[in-house]
Point group: C2
Chain length 425, copies 2
């Protein structure tokens, strides 16, 4: 296909006319498709139904006789800690199992840090006139929302294929002791799908930070969520932090929201023993303990990491055709036109499209007008402000395959129409 | 039985000798009994096992077709909101369903208030040099721990049979705008068992507070947890607050921890629409939503308030003999001796004993030395400091009946021995 910028005026008009007709056809179909969030589809959720059934569903005692129905167990039941220490590649005393939401654990860590700090010998973050977080972007909107809500200044950091640009990060944290944290989705990053390289992990672990209480918020949401032949390798950041004498630098998070049930999974937080003790000492004021019955169900259903991995293969079997459909439509509609490029993720929940500068919001609006809701423009950037107005996040997990094909065709038509306007404008 | 203070020296010595022998006998039995916390016993937890079994256990769709396995539902699923609006006697849009812990909801409300305040036109509590809470005492230790943790100054308020002493409260809140809250367990209060009178509720609702952002933390933990023939009446404080033009004064909390499963129940927060919107707007940064499968299980198992009440009758059948045993032992050991008085609760989870001044810590230690762990001395007062050193909280729900009888006999022996020491001084 010819690059759009190399088309004659006549060719442009011809294309435009054809695309407008196709757009009107879509509009007349009155689709009502929501592709805004990375929600598992019902077929994925069905995979874990065994957890609610029979002996697993009604189990309430661990092998050691602990009654999971009663109070207690602030950091989780021992077999759940064993399972997820394997999953997180940390020791059982380096993690805790929370409720159903890792976002909740992250939010609470930061809210507590505002009031109490993150260590004994540094002030509460809220006592300082201002604090700042580094925000590799495009990134996860809910991370950024927490910062905005709490008045934490966000500094966007550009992403490379190996992770956020480390030169920039190293310079910033070495200078500014008000920079207290960085958000990272290190594997199959939301939305770009990139996996942090070993070098990136090591540099994050060993970089000199002016703030003694700098913390990496390591949201490993997609650790086993591969689409290709197997999970991509990710270096263990806790090990890297320990090796560089910064053992307390990282708070790690994960959940089974996209393994078992999106709304009824388990959330995990991990880090050094010192960090976990700090957090548990504070959590003891918040709760007597999380839902241990749900932990027991997860243990009995998955058994071990191999069980989780086998389960995730079934997820991949459902998701792969959907992600392939996105790639196929984008390729057949946009290849060679030089108006967009997009990610080809090996895992995770998103495809990230970058349009020509200044086109994303218009594309998203145009798609919405024809019945396809995408993640709102700018969402993947701090303050919902995409400086180039070019990023579109596609979440293909939930809708059925045929809807995804239709939706992506519509999105591709919108991208072309808006690009043509821009080029001819 | 003769009052101890009227005994001759010889009689005192005789009693003492006899009691010491009985104490030694207990000690030689090497009991290991934990009566520290208000934990339901396994038989109580068994009552709700139907929730985990069969169609109820594996249900995941509401009648309206909502898939409870997926993300969403920040304030709860509609049928759970309907059930608990009946339970809380509020409108469905005046409540939210949280995770498994009402303590968690209370803690989070206060932690957020430290950073964000509780309303638009008042500063965050943490921005003030100091804030204070009124603490009716004896009260619930975990309430007091939250204040201590967050540096909130606690002002103990004496309890009468009708609730906390309102004259004192009214004077304090009218004067001091740093008083931002009060902890209340209005029904079958922990540990005294008293129920707030209608007048107390009304006065709390209508009293003039110097602080515009004063809030009542209404922890109605034992709303349907009666031991006698039926639940004692409690006036609806939200209605009372609305009638006195203070609709936003109260945050109400409840949970099913002592209805379904102590560690896997549902927590509820309720209040005016304005308050609920304030809270939900903030919670949206914390979580995508609570565990909706557990909500659905509760709805299908209990159906309606009548279902909950019928279920609570079964709890009462289990608990009543245990509470009677406590009363019987205390009466037969201590009646007429004028060395202690104790509550005769019509509901809730505790019996509260007041010893002679300066005896409680010694009694608790002495019982522990013989193998019976009671709630630590002072726990029912702010800063764990019982000014009279006289309050002992008895939690008879968990141990088997025969253990309770033995434990209470031991406690009564310890009370007599320590009292005799004090009297013969």
């Amino acid at each position: 296909m010819t690059e759009f910028t190399k088309l004659s005026n006549q060719e442009l008009r011809h294309h435009q006319e054809e695309l407008r007709q196709r757009y009107q056809q879509f509009k007349s179909r009155q689709m009502a498709l929501d592709m805004t969030r990375g929600k598992p589809c019902p077929e994925q959720l069905d995979l874990a139904l065994g957890m609610l059934e029979g002996d697993t569903g009604k189990a309430f005692r661990t092998d050691d006789g602990l009654d999971c129905r009663n109070y207690g167990g602030l950091d989780g039941i021992p077999p759940a800690k064993a399972l997820f220490s394997e999953y997180m590649a940390v020791e059982p005393d380096e993690l805790l199992i929370g409720g159903n939401s890792s976002l909740n654990l992250m939010h609470d860590t930061i809210l507590r840090a505002m009031v109490k700090g993150v260590m004994d010998d540094a002030p509460a973050w809220g006592q300082l006139p201002k604090i700042k977080f580094l925000c590799p972007s495009p990134g996860y909107d809910r991370h950024f929302f927490i910062c905005e809500y709490l008045g934490i200044e966000m500094i966007p950091i550009e992403m490379a294929d190996s992770g956020p640009k480390m030169d920039v990060i190293e310079d910033l944290v070495a200078e500014d002791d008000l920079i207290k944290g960085i958000w990272c989705v290190p594997k199959y990053s939301n939305p770009t799908g990139i996996v942090y390289s070993g070098e990136t992990v090591d540099r994050l672990a060993k970089m000199k930070t002016r703030a003694v209480d700098f913390r990496i918020f390591w949201d490993n949401a997609y650790a086993v969520h591969h689409l290709a032949d197997g999970p991509a390798p990710l270096r263990n950041i806790l090990t890297a932090c320990k090796m560089t004498a910064n053992p307390d630098r990282v708070f790690m998070y994960a959940s089974t929201s996209k393994i078992s049930f999106a709304g009824a999974g388990l959330a995990i937080m991990a880090g050094s023993q010192a960090n976990m003790n700090w957090v548990k000492n504070q959590m003891a004021f918040q709760t007597i303990g999380p839902d241990k019955l749900n932990q027991l169900r997860h243990v009995l259903f998955f058994r071990n990491l191999a069980g989780i991995e086998a389960h995730m293969q079934k997820h991949a079997d459902i998701l792969k055709p959907k992600f392939e459909a996105v790639q196929n439509v984008l390729a057949s509609e946009l290849d060679g036109k030089n108006i967009a490029h997009w990610s080809r993720p090996q895992g995770g929940y998103f495809v990230s499209i970058d349009t020509l500068q200044g086109c994303a919001a218009a594309v998203i609006k145009m798609a919405a007008d024809a019945g396809v809701k995408l993640t709102p423009a700018g969402s993947t950037y701090p303050y919902k402000s995409d400086p180039q107005d070019c990023n579109i996040r596609i979440a293909p997990s939930f809708p059925p395959l045929e809807d995804i094909q239709a939706a992506m065709e519509l999105v591709a038509i919108c991208i072309q129409l808006i690009s043509l306007e821009k080029i001819s404008g």
